[in-house]
């Protein structure tokens, strides 16, 4: 059996209290082997981002455990979580989350500066086809371009695990495929575990494993025996 990148036991997340409490995660049991591309599918509001946030060390579970390799994220101090994010994790957020007062290159540098073994920021931006726009501010970029900056920023640190919350939501098929290729490269060359949240079910075809999520729990896990390349996917 492959070593696990992540495993969760009874992972629960409740927002708020009392009558207005929202159960975003209801006891998630999940194993993700190292080095795989995993696609997370599910309806809006089913708790995908919440799960990503917790195993990415951005948020804490209300109950249950989440293990990265053999370390329990639930038992880490804030400081340890910070180091975990700094040293292992790359993020692409659902809402891009670029720093408005930094240029594209500086947004990437924000991460490479503190990473252990980063790429050259310009190289990362070239990978997503943005060599021409490195000195532009987010306000001067289109939505898709902003998203590609966010992806360049996430891969530039050479992460061990890469979390992508709808990385291609705003992209056309050509750039979308280019972005997926970048993710695939990171997975193949670095052996990084890549977790992609998406609404486009067709993208599941490039994954090693597809997790169907509904109402805060895992409905079904499908292991994909024959992976397609991004070019082969229907858009």
């Amino acid at each position: 059996m492959k070593t696990l990148a992540f495993s969760t036991k009874g992972l629960t997340k409740v927002y708020g209290e009392g009558r207005s409490a929202v159960h975003a995660l209801r006891g998630v049991e999940l194993d993700i082997p190292q080095g795989e591309i995993v696609v997370l599918l599910g309806p809006s509001g089913s708790g995908k981002s919440t799960l990503l946030n917790i195993i990415g060390g951005l948020d804490r579970a209300t109950a249950g455990d989440a293990f990265f390799q053999d370390q329990n994220l639930s038992e880490m101090t804030d400081k340890q979580l910070t180091l975990y994010r700094r040293n292992y994790v790359g993020f692409v957020f659902q809402f891009y989350n670029l720093m408005p007062s930094l240029t594209a290159r500086e947004n990437v540098e924000l991460v490479t500066e503190i990473a252990r073994d980063p790429m050259d920021p310009d190289e990362a931006l070239a990978m997503v086809g943005l060599s021409e726009r490195v000195d532009h501010f987010p306000a001067q970029l289109s939505g898709g371009e902003q998203q590609r900056v966010a992806i360049a920023r996430a891969v530039a640190k050479n992460p061990t695990v890469l979390f992508c919350d709808e990385p291609t939501g705003a992209l056309d098929s050509t750039t979308g495929r280019a972005v997926l290729n970048v993710l695939k490269d990171v997975n193949e060359k670095l052996g990084a575990t890549v977790l992609i949240v998406t609404h486009a079910a067709s993208q599941a075809a490039m994954a090693d494993r597809v997790i169907h999520f509904a109402d805060g729990a895992i409905r079904e896990v499908v292991v994909n025996e024959t992976k397609l390349t991004p070019e082969e996917i229907d858009w």
């Binding site: 951005l58 700094r86 989350n97 720093m99 007062s101 240029t103 500086e106 500066e113």
Partner: protein, 787 residues
């Protein structure tokens, strides 16, 4: 450069208006500190150097007439390092440019050597040659006012004899930095002169051959001043010694010390106010920044930046503003200190300047501003620790406006959509509004108190010269004369009212505290000069009791009903026990009043007067002056109008002049605060405003949402600020008050109105600046990125 530093620079640039406003407030506080401490140390050092170089005496011992050999006895007292006996006397100088003879003091210089103590600084001409008895030196500041030069001749009356003198030189002396005519409080270069002449010539004029009537003493290091004073008094007692006094009680030095002390007080009180305001502003600004940059903070944390790194980033911004402001403040302080010190050196008549900026003040200024900014910043940045990256990553939930109060419901029907937005924001986000209100109220308070102080300065002049003293002319006699002189004055044509007065030099003592002072004996039915209480009602001089000015009562820690020891320094020099019957309001000087008859009774010198207050028919003024000059008992005549002018000059050129600097500063600060509040409101709502514009509201309607809020906040702040300003006025007035004058706090609606106009003006200008930005906003970019 790291990307975070890029962000820092861009953030600074984006908020340059605000950063500049806050930086200015800090700069002003630090500048004020550097300037004032620089002024104070420079003045103190200069004074010390001047005193030392010209060997100013440590002890002054006036005596009626002591034989020269007593000088040797004085020198033998343990702790005395040098003695200089001299002759001093009152003189009257006739000048062509004035109706009235001018009072002067004649002071002897040794015939054959320069004085061991109280040397003079020759500014013009040459020293006197003792073989020519008509040669004199004249006080330079006095000579300048009257256009007298070496080579000129003047007429002077000494000891009843009128003589002509030749001015051979002009001089200054540390002993006469301030010259005040006897019985007056306000120094005036024009109305009191000092004449130096050779000891032999002066002794001849005052029948002091082989004798002296004042001894100057210097003390050796570590000598006990009190012991020397006692010993001197014992030695000179039988020669009519009227009590030796130390330098700190000497008139000129007392005055200089008061003025420097006043500057020193302001230097300690005022800058902290500015720095506190700056800390408050920084707190508000950083608070808002952290709120609006939750997302960025979350992002940095998500990437693995530690709390410390994130806090450090914002802290650098605070420091950039604080240190930038502090450095600008140091430069401003140096520049203004250099400019002002010249003014003060001229004002204090120092012949040279030891300019010394206290390096400690830079260190204190910079570190205090860093400290206060850090407190303001850290209070907010604490919250950075609390933000979890996940919660920060989500856009903040739209502010909750759902709870609408009853007033809201009632009002809603009358309000249009935009007015409702204004109102809801104010009622639903009271904490943020409170910040803005308090800020603007602080600005209002500063303006109110400064304008109140201005009114107080006007008031002191009005009260002193129109209410407390209603005479036109004060006449002083050469000695305590018989009251028949009063009848003589009353018979003079054109003199409408004459009231006798008696001045008696005393030392007031209560417990361990003592004070040199003068008792003013007034007739109980006096109408021209009276003791007044705080409501300006006449205080009856109950027979036998003393009425003390409040400043004096405070110094002596004495209250009505307490007994006070009064050591008379004249005539038989009795020590008396007299009850204090009331405390009088006094703005100028610190007088002690007694019933004239009761005073004469305890002195056992019935019917004696030392001067009179007159009202006269102005048309006959010059005839009256001539008649007064011809009366042998008259030592001096002073006009109230001259005294009033001198007082105004004093208030506008001395330590009081700082009020103009403070006025300018208060305005800068008020504007800084109001502008800051407007900017913050704008930044918080820029997206809302852009949305409104997108929906189809006009620029004016969108601006109304913001400016309406600013207007309401300002209107709420005004009464609050007025109240705060009322209390702040007392603090600032106390800072400006000294023993010589006390600045009253006047509750004057005009001051409050004017302060309100200043604040509203600042709000209008700030609103206009922000409106300009609203008009310029590009809708698309405003919506695309947050903030």
């Amino acid at each position: 450069m790291s990307p975070l530093d890029h962000k820092l620079l861009r953030d600074l640039w984006r908020m340059k208006g605000q950063a500049f406003a806050i930086g200015m407030v800090i700069a002003v506080g630090v500048g004020m500190l550097v300037m004032m401490t620089g002024l104070v140390t420079s003045l103190k050092e200069t004074r010390a150097a001047y005193y030392e170089r010209y060997r100013l005496a440590d002890v002054f011992a006036p005596v009626t007439r002591a034989p020269d050999r007593m000088a040797g006895r004085l020198a033998a007292i343990e702790g005395v390092s040098a003695v200089e006996p001299r002759v001093v006397g009152a003189a009257l100088i006739d000048l062509i440019d004035t109706d009235l003879p001018v009072q002067a003091q004649a002071v002897s210089l040794p015939d054959f050597h320069s004085p061991r103590l109280n040397d003079v600084f020759l500014t013009d001409g040459r020293m006197i040659d003792s073989s020519h008895t008509d040669e004199i030196l004249l006080l330079q500041s006095f000579a300048n006012v009257h256009g007298l030069r070496p080579g000129d001749h003047i007429q002077a009356t000494m000891n009843g004899a009128r003589r002509s003198f030749r001015i051979v030189g002009l001089a200054q002396s540390p002993e006469f930095l301030y010259t005040t005519a006897p019985g007056e409080l306000i120094p005036d270069d024009a109305r009191f002169g000092v004449i130096w002449m050779s000891r032999s010539a002066l002794a001849a004029a005052y029948d002091m051959q082989g004798a002296f009537n004042e001894a100057l003493l210097s003390l050796s290091h570590g000598a006990s001043e009190a012991a020397v004073l006692d010993a001197v008094d014992r030695l000179l007692g039988s020669y009519g010694g009227t009590g030796a006094y130390p330098l700190k009680d000497q008139m000129s030095n007392l005055f200089v010390s008061q003025e420097i002390g006043e500057l020193e007080t302001s230097s300690k009180v005022v800058p902290p106010i500015f720095l506190a305001v700056a800390a408050f502003l920084l707190y508000i600004v950083i608070n808002r920044m952290v709120q609006s940059e939750r997302e960025e903070i979350g992002l940095m944390k998500a990437f693995g930046y530690t709390n410390i790194e994130v806090v450090a980033h914002y802290f650098k911004l605070v420091m950039a503003i604080a240190i930038g402001g502090a450095l600008a403040g140091c430069l401003m302080g140096i520049a203004s200190g250099r400019a002002l010190i010249q003014v003060y050196v001229a004002y204090f008549k120092f012949p040279f300047l030891v300019f010394d900026l206290d390096p400690a003040s830079f260190v204190i200024g910079v570190s205090v501003s860093i400290l206060s900014a850090s407190v303001g910043g850290l209070l907010v940045l604490r919250r950075v620790f609390g933000l979890t990256p996940a919660s920060a990553m989500r856009a903040p939930a739209p502010a909750d406006y759902s709870r609408t109060g009853t007033i809201g419901h009632a009002l809603n029907r009358f309000l249009d959509q935009t007015s409702r937005m204004v109102l809801r924001r104010i009622t639903r986000q009271p904490a943020r509004m409170a910040g803005a209100v308090i800020g603007i109220a602080c600005g209002m308070a500063l303006s109110v108190s400064i304008i109140t102080i201005y009114a107080g300065f006007d008031r002191i002049i009005d009260l002193t010269f129109n209410v407390m003293d209603r005479s036109d002319v004060t006449v002083s006699f050469t000695h305590a004369a018989s009251d028949t002189t009063i009848f003589e004055l009353r018979r003079m044509q054109g003199v409408t009212l004459v009231e006798p007065v008696r001045y008696v030099p005393v030392v007031l003592r209560h417990g361990l505290i003592s004070r040199r002072s003068v008792i003013t004996g007034l007739s109980p039915d006096a109408r021209l000069v009276r003791a007044l209480d705080a409501d300006l009602a006449k205080i009856p001089l109950q027979n036998g009791g003393i009425v003390l000015a409040s400043a004096l009562a405070d110094i002596l820690h004495i209250r009505p009903g307490d007994m006070m020891t009064v050591e008379v320094r004249e005539g038989r020099q009795p020590a008396l026990q007299i009850p204090v019957t009331a405390v009088a309001e006094s703005l100028l000087g610190s007088p002690a009043y007694m019933d004239l008859n009761a005073l004469n009774r305890v002195l056992r010198e019935p019917n004696r007067v030392s001067g009179a207050y007159l009202t006269i028919d102005k048309a006959r003024a010059s005839k009256i002056y001539t008649a007064l000059q011809d009366m042998p008992t008259v030592a001096g005549v002073s006009l109230k109008s001259d005294a009033e002018i001198a007082f105004k000059v004093l208030l506008d050129t001395g330590a009081g002049a700082i009020r103009y600097v403070m006025g300018a500063i208060a305005f800068i600060i008020t504007f800084g605060i109001v502008y800051n509040a407007a900017r913050i409101a704008y930044a918080e709502r820029s997206r809302d405003l852009a949305s409104l514009r997108v929906i189809g509201f006009t620029k004016g309607e969108a601006a109304f949402v913001l400016l309406g809020e600013l207007a309401i906040v300002t209107l709420i702040a005004l009464p609050l600020g007025a109240l705060m300003g009322y209390y702040l006025s007392f603090g600032i007035a106390a800072g400006f008050s000294s023993e010589i004058y006390q600045i009253p706090v006047v509750f004057d609606s005009a001051s409050y109105g004017f302060a309100a106009i200043v604040v509203i003006g600042a709000a209008v200008v700030s609103g206009w600046l922000v409106k300009r930005d609203i008009d310029r906003t590009e809708l698309v970019s405003a919506l695309k990125t947050r903030e």
